[in-house]
């Protein structure tokens, strides 16, 4: 119960920030060289939730994520699977017992994340729409 209250407090504290952030849509981006131009929401879920580790064209995929409980990360999962990050983490924890391992690359901030995608052809990640550069290819806009 205490824990629940704690989470509730955090959520309430974060709520004005997320709502500010929510105004700005998130974009799912890949390396410019990646042949995939567009992806569906299901394909994105399958990729980020560990069902598949490859793009629809069967090329290996490397999801790139922000470390910890970054606002953008929370926002992303909320938008993609409708779950708070804690539940997503719980999901991964459960899977860990069956020997399934997360194959995501973790980056400390948005800049590093963008750099990694630009440097890595197999990478896929999410950034606020405002941070999109010419070097990135947008395959999905999250926030409709």
């Amino acid at each position: 119960m205490k824990r629940f209250n704690f989470i509730l407090t955090i959520v309430l504290l974060l709520l004005p920030i997320t709502s500010v952030q929510a105004v700005e849509p998130l974009a799912v981006v890949v390396n410019k060289a990646n042949p995939v131009d567009k992806m569906t929401r299901s394909e994105l879920i399958d990729l980020f939730m560990g069902k598949y580790v490859a793009f629809p064209d069967d090329n290996k995929a490397l999801p790139v994520e922000l470390k910890g409980e970054h606002d953008i990360k929370v926002h992303f999962y909320q938008k993609l699977v409708g779950m708070p990050l804690s539940r997503v983490n719980a999901y991964w924890s459960r899977l860990r017992f069956t020997g399934r391992k997360r194959v995501a690359i973790l980056q400390a901030n948005e800049a590093e994340l963008i750099d990694y995608i630009i440097a890595n052809e197999q990478a896929i990640g999410y950034v606020p729409k405002s941070l999109i550069t010419e070097d990135l290819k947008v395959v999905y806009i999250l926030n409709e």
């Binding site: 560990g50 069902k51 699977v81 999901y91 399934r100």
Partner: protein, 531 residues
Amino acid sequence: MNKSGLVIRLAIVIIFTAIIVGLITTQIFYRFTFLNEQARGEQSINQLYNTVSPTASIASYLGDKELAEEVINGLISNDIVTSAAIETDVMMVKSDNYFKSPDTLEFVLFSPFQKERRVGVLFVKANKIFISAKADKISGTNTFVVAIEAFIITVISILVTYYVITRPILSIGKALHSISPGTKQRIKKPTSHQESEIGQLADDVNDLLVKAEQQMLREKSLRSEVQVLESRFRMLFENATSAIVLVEPQGDILLYNETFEMLIEKLQLPLKKNYGNFLQDLFVMKKELHEQIKIAFANDESATSELELISSSEEKMWVQVVVTQLITDDFQENYQITLHDISKRKQQILLLDQKANYDSLTNLLNRQATEQRLKQLMATKVPFALIIMDLNDFKPINDIFGHDAGDEILIHVASQLLKNLRKADLLSRWGGDEFIIILPDAKKEEVINVCVKLASTLSKPHNLSQHNKSVFVTASMGASFYPDDQVELLELIRVADKAMYQVKKEKSANKELYLAFASDMNKPENNSQSS
């Protein structure tokens, strides 16, 4: 114990009812329990599904066999699950004994992230045997409880019924059985039923017994009264000096008294059941009896008649007969006939009649009676011949031998005359030595014939018993005819007398002459006849 007795019957009914109700109850309860358990089993499986569905969804979504197996193993570790399986597009994970059958429960699994995305199906088979075994166990216990309950209720019912209802009723019944109505005996009210319906029953029975006793006492006194009355009537009837007979219209005798029996005995007749209508066979003059009855009944009176009884003995018996019509309570016509013996009175009357009408010496009709008879004959217009006879030479016999000899001659003459007359003829002593003979319906020739016979009979000598002397008498006779000569009695006698004196007068001249007819008196010549 009586097999059809109240207690046994009641016990049988209660036991059977208990068994049947128990059986039905347990059956219904078993069905109910079974269905309940089945429903509960399904509910449990649903709950199990709810428990495992997130994991199963993840396993299906990822196509993770290990995770799926974990779910399956978890499911089949439950008693109510026999086997389970998870099927997705890419894999099929199932427990060892799983096979698809119609009773398999299906749960569709959706993606944990997209609720509309179908990722697989979870199959679960419920453990029917376990469920029914569980139902059996529950209902088995229940049946046992119901049976015990039924047994206890049955025993209590029987005991209560026996002690509260049956035994008191039986005791009343037994008491009633041994009581004879009309006595002082009463039924004892059961102590535990002073106020109940059974107590009421005992009270009512006692009331009835009281009434029966009163009724019987009343009847008893009435009966003794009737007996006294009956014995008096019997005495009256049996000791009556008159014979009393009750007959039916056809003459069947219903009742008779001792006097009647004695009368029949006296008549030397057999005692029969029927002597004809109104006992007519007993009487000489049946016609008169019936006539009297007819007249009397027409006037609504009792018929009374004096009648002679038929009798083989010489003594004549006369009775006064009274016939009364009786209508019985059931509208049957009967006749009461009383026969009162009047023989003695009749005899006395007869004797008086004899004295008044007959000559004491010759026992012939005297003059007075003869006149009466003649008047009767004339009243009925019967023609007859009248002969007046006078003895000749009677006076000398009287004078010589005395009056006794004269009387003897008169008796002798009378008997001789009677010998030569018919039954219908009349012989009378007219007075002294004069006799009158009446011959009904006689013609002149007959008169002559009779007179010839009489004359010749008289002419025979008679031996006087006291004098040892033979004498004979002759007679002079005059005859007249009714109604040819005279219609008046005195005239008729006078003319006959005249004819007779004519004979007497001429006797000195003609010794053989003894008869003259009055009709010949007017003719001086040929006025006599000789034989």
